[in-house]
Symmetry: C2
Amino acid sequence: MPKQKATLKIIAKELDVSVSTVSKALRDSKEIGKETKEKVKAFAKLYNYRPNNIALSLKNRKTKTLGVIIPEIVHHFFTTVISGIESYANSQGYNVIVGLSNESFNKEVINLDTLANGSIDGFIMSVAKETLSKKDFHHLSETIDQGIPIVMFDRVIDDLGCDKVIVDDVVAAEKAVNRLIDGGCKSVGLISTKDYVNVGRLRTKGYEKALKDKGIHINEKHVCKLEDKSVSLDNFDYLELQVEEFLSTAEDIDGIFAVNEIYALTAMKAARKMGKNIPDDIQVIGFTDGVLSKHAHPPLTTVDQNGFEIGKISAKLLIERLELESEEEENYKTVVVDTKIIERETTFKLK
Amino acid sequence: MPKQKATLKIIAKELDVSVSTVSKALRDSKEIGKETKEKVKAFAKLYNYRPNNIALSLKNRKTKTLGVIIPEIVHHFFTTVISGIESYANSQGYNVIVGLSNESFNKEVINLDTLANGSIDGFIMSVAKETLSKKDFHHLSETIDQGIPIVMFDRVIDDLGCDKVIVDDVVAAEKAVNRLIDGGCKSVGLISTKDYVNVGRLRTKGYEKALKDKGIHINEKHVCKLEDKSVSLDNFDYLELQVEEFLSTAEDIDGIFAVNEIYALTAMKAARKMGKNIPDDIQVIGFTDGVLSKHAHPPLTTVDQNGFEIGKISAKLLIERLELESEEEENYKTVVVDTKIIERETTFKLK
DNA sequence: TTGTACGCGTTATCAA
DNA sequence: TTGATAACGCGTACAA
């Protein structure tokens, strides 16, 4: 077993030919004689030669790797997106390097900075919450200015020159609410976040729009906007209290649209505590189709964000841009990915 | 805004000095005059100069990036491990490149192959199930022979020259079973995988050991070994059938130790279907503390694998080996990470 | 104090 | 048909 890694140089020396001959032989150039070619190839196979990626990257000024920066990785939506990115990237001969911002502005900047120095050809990212609230996007515009394209998904910044992949939260929420109404609900309640959280605001908007379109008056007792630093699992108990209070002051609610899984599960738990049955007394639809929904009791009907598709499209947009010869083409796209409702057992079947 | 990326060469030309002067000035070499230094530094800052990682990698024959290859990323345990890896790696100036095998032997080989050609300095990986059942590890030993170190975690191959990070599955399983017995269970059932899955086999062993140590005869009707390509969520229905059958042929079971979350939840579901109450009729302990356990109904008592720690230690071991000058040191370590039981509501409280 | 030359591994171009 | 050279961007030993 050759402990030394094979390079063109080593093969050349061993075979007593020049480096360029070896290179050409291996790439099957017709410049090289049949005999030499065979000799070189046999030797290369024996020594298990592989071209050195780094050298190629340096030469081609392309690394064929994508930098993905996300706020958090222990999170179903983001991992699904990564899955989609990997899948498409690999199929196109690209690798994926992952950076985590942990929702921190500084870590996001550092990540961007380290990777931008030649390690990657372009970024796919979802912005950290801190960055969003700081509204400081100079690191993003700077990397774009340096000629490194970015594709943003989900948490997106409006006026930034880059491709974007999003879900239409308003439409998705409308779908969910309509589904509840079609399933027979008379009073649909909403469990959302405070309005400063982007997705919460948009999904609330969708809720309102759906009701208005059906000519239903919006009862503010049916709307619950939770203060909730991070939709994590740690503050679950506090959430529970808030939701119980909400449900007990709006006894007539027979359908709930919750803007995420956790809220939906909390609502189900609270309802059950009040002796209500799901879906017979209250139907529930959540948002984001994660493991929780699938394994809830009963399994939760949800609006699927389609993370895999988001990832795939993001990778596609980025790679297309990377491989576009003319860098002039600055017609940035925003792709809206479709959502669909995954029917499970917290809603009645439609006939 | 400079659209062109700054290089030493460009700065040198612009300032009409030599490339090495610029290089030295930026690295604060005392060889360079104060004036020149300042001039160069100012210019570099203006042009936002950063050394090109790729060129450095080529020169140093080190990429300062770690390749992580895991079977699946939409999976709580693995993402927790990645989190730990990232955290330590970044603190040491390393990046992390992620490859997914999707439990496939071929994809694992391809991933290893593409990354091994200079893109990374070493691997951290958990082996695909298919690789495990094929028992074909030539790709692993070959990359090690090429001088690229591997650290394996969780799904580990015994006779392979590399560092390993594992949880003592036997002991952890024993703990779980003992906990059930201490909690009053008379007939503890096991839901595990077929024996060729390493962790399944070891946890089964722990189950058997715990019973033997208490002088309890092992009833083969109490043991269920599921055939299960990937513990994913897609084949849930099929799983359910198998578990239901198992439970109905062993009616006396009053405690279940399941080797993963999904199996545990499936068991709970099946038990409930049979009219049994949890924990009153059957107590349950799962393995791997993920979101599912936390939000199960009722919340599931589990053995926590401590993925973050596993990731951190893996990264530490790998980086230490990478930065070891003497490559001779082949005293490979196997670190055993401790597990603990997270008490929730599928077991009785101990007095 | 500054500049030249070299090498990391590869390929493209041009010369032999 | 083969070989030498340059270049990608960097750092450093050595020469000026």
